[in-house]
């Protein structure tokens, strides 16, 4: 996986693989840091890899692993003195995705969500020591992608469903029969609350999330559907914070399609 991690002081490009985690300068010219995973001599039945990347708390970069552990790295404002600050061990299944709060979290809602192969979601509050605020148990269906906005967790699952959870209480607030196949990517546009979902069924959907601060009602509407003919969509991202444009990648596709 590859992700830009925006911190107040710097932007790092983080890559995860079967070997571990690599962090590069924003222009890709220097490798700032490299963390190797414990890879066994001979291949074992259980795969080893790092997966799930997010910047949190203005100071940390969190990366998930196939062991279920989440590595928290403390990033200095300059230089390569990155340290492993903490290892969060609440998940028992391989981590699939991690997301940080992109809007304004209500009190007690936390600013980080981690997801795993079993569908379990953990909500955290970042800091010198991360605190587990809540856990939403999975039902066995993989949560492949997750986003967090204004205390709403948007989770995409392997059975094509999107669920919206309230981060503070851990309650389910919406269930969307969104896709007919495995959801590969979710992205959120923080200025408008637009949610992008992309799956193997060739479809990309744009949704609009909203949260009423007074009534605490959470609403979601379907805005647009796009079919990328004969393509299993593997990646989708908004290109701007308002969600006016988005880009899509797919299996066997050497192009990036922009909408």
């Amino acid at each position: 996986q590859a992700a830009w991690c925006e911190l107040p002081s710097r932007v790092l490009l983080v890559l995860t693989s079967q070997r571990g985690v690599q962090m590069y300068d924003a222009d890709g010219s220097t490798m700032v840091f490299w963390h190797a995973l414990d890879v066994p001599e001979l291949p074992a039945a259980h795969s080893v890899f790092a997966r799930g990347i997010a910047a949190a708390g203005g100071r940390f970069i969190c990366v998930g692993t196939s062991f279920g552990a989440v590595l928290v790295f403390d990033i200095p404002p300059k230089g390569s003195n990155v340290t492993l600050s903490e290892v969060l061990e609440q998940h028992r299944d391989p981590i699939t995705d991690i997301a940080a709060e992109q809007g304004q979290a209500p009190d007690g809602a936390g600013d980080l969500v981690t997801a795993d192969d079993c569908g379990t979601l953990c909500l955290w509050s970042s800091g010198e020591e991360f605190t587990l605020l809540g856990k939403i148990p999975g039902s066995g269906c993989t949560c492949s992608s997750v986003a967090l906005w204004n205390g709403i967790v948007a989770a995409g699952y392997g059975n094509g469903q999107i669920r919206l959870w309230e981060a503070g209480s851990g309650r389910i607030r919406a269930q969307l029969g969104a896709h007919a196949r495995w959801i590969y990517a979710l992205d959120l546009a923080p200025l408008t609350g637009k949610l992008l979902s992309a799956a193997e069924d060739s479809f990309v959907h744009v949704w609009k999330l909203s949260r009423d601060r007074d009534t605490d009602d959470i609403e979601v509407q379907h805005c647009h559907a796009e079919c990328v003919t004969d393509t299993q969509v593997c990646g989708a991202r908004f290109c701007d914070p308002a969600g006016d444009t988005f880009a899509v990648t797919g299996y066997d596709l050497s192009e990036i399609l922009c909408y």
């Binding site: 079967q18 001979l42 291949p43 074992a44 039945a45 795969s47 890899f49 299944d93 391989p94 699939t96 795993d116 192969d117 079993c118 066995g140 269906c141 993989t142 492949s144 392997g158 059975n159 094509g160 469903q161 309230e166 209480s169 309650r171 389910i172 607030r173 919406a174 269930q175 969307l176 029969g177 969104a178 896709h179 007919a180 196949r181 495995w182 069924d201 060739s202 479809f203 959907h205 605490d216 009602d217 959470i218 609403e219 979601v220 509407q221 379907h222 559907a225 079919c227 003919t229 004969d230 393509t231 299993q232 299996y251 066997d252 050497s254």
Partner: protein, 389 residues
Amino acid sequence: MSARTLPLLFLNLGGEMLYILDQRLRAQSIPGEKARKDEWTDVDRKRVMNDIISTMFNRKFMEELFKPQDLYSKKALRTVYDRLAHASIMRLNQASMDKLYDLMTMAFKYQVLLCPRPRDILLVTYNHLDAIKDFISDSPGILNQVDETFRRLIETYNPLSDGEFQLIRQTLLIFFQDMHIRVSIFLKDKVQNSNGRFVLPISGPVPWGTEVPGLIRIFNHKGVEVKRAEFTTAGNYVTPQREGSFELYGDRVLKLGTNMYSVTRPVETHMSGSSKNLASQAKENIAPNPLAKEELNFLARLLGGLDIQKPAGGESGFRLNLFTTDEEEEHAAQTRPEELSYKVINIEATQEPARRAELSRILGELDVAEPRPGSAGKGEDLLALMDGL
């Protein structure tokens, strides 16, 4: 990437290979009494199928296969199938072998791509195994071997999670990435476009466990459903009727992995060599010793496990042609685009002393049937084979 992918890759590709060989052998076979010495009969066809299947499901081979390991390179895997296809009295020219491998790989790529759930790859595998059991239904010994492997698959794979299957699926898709060989039967059935890409339908039954897209349900903070809304898309999905069976016997429901060839439908491929990606692929692995030591030992074991029947009196023996005529086969060999050539590795067992020792040791431990001296034609060779049983 998943280290549990190789058995699935090997068995499914093997299954496709058997479908194709069976179809070609049937198409080219002559009724027993009328056949000349060098023509195929039903007895020959069954013999070939039995030999290949029993080699494929050889116990030692299977044990090696099921060990957690990375996927072989395309070249190394191709060499394994080359050996497998020659496990019997049948011979294939390079052009026919190339075509066979193209068909096998594109067929399985299609099946992996279209699997509704990642776990359905198992149903595809079971479909192949069900058909293989049918091919050797009157050979209880080989049937036992296949059933043993079947049970091993069930034991190893049935308990895996969706996430692990998705990883296996991704490993397979990476292996097949950028392969766009056009297959006649796919083009005719409109499952493949003229640019080589597969058609992904946006209609039909949704995977088991998925709901038909279109419904939005909103809950209040007490968990009570307060609103429903619908949205529409171009897709036209329906609910599936039932789930396929993952047991040793059962209705798999899924059609992917069943035999799509029949005697009347010829199997052709078109070479589309214009892709840029293929050109870059061909540049890799030109190193003189592309096989890693481990892979060579694995193949050596496979070689060692074979009863090497050399067709007496020269190489042609009982040749199977995957094309309609010999001229077509010749033409295909000459016009195959450079970037699509498999550059099959010829293992020079005599090159390195260490390797030679290893191979000799393995061969020495096994009985290798000596080719009967003086046998000149197919009839005598068959007799010789039967005498040796």
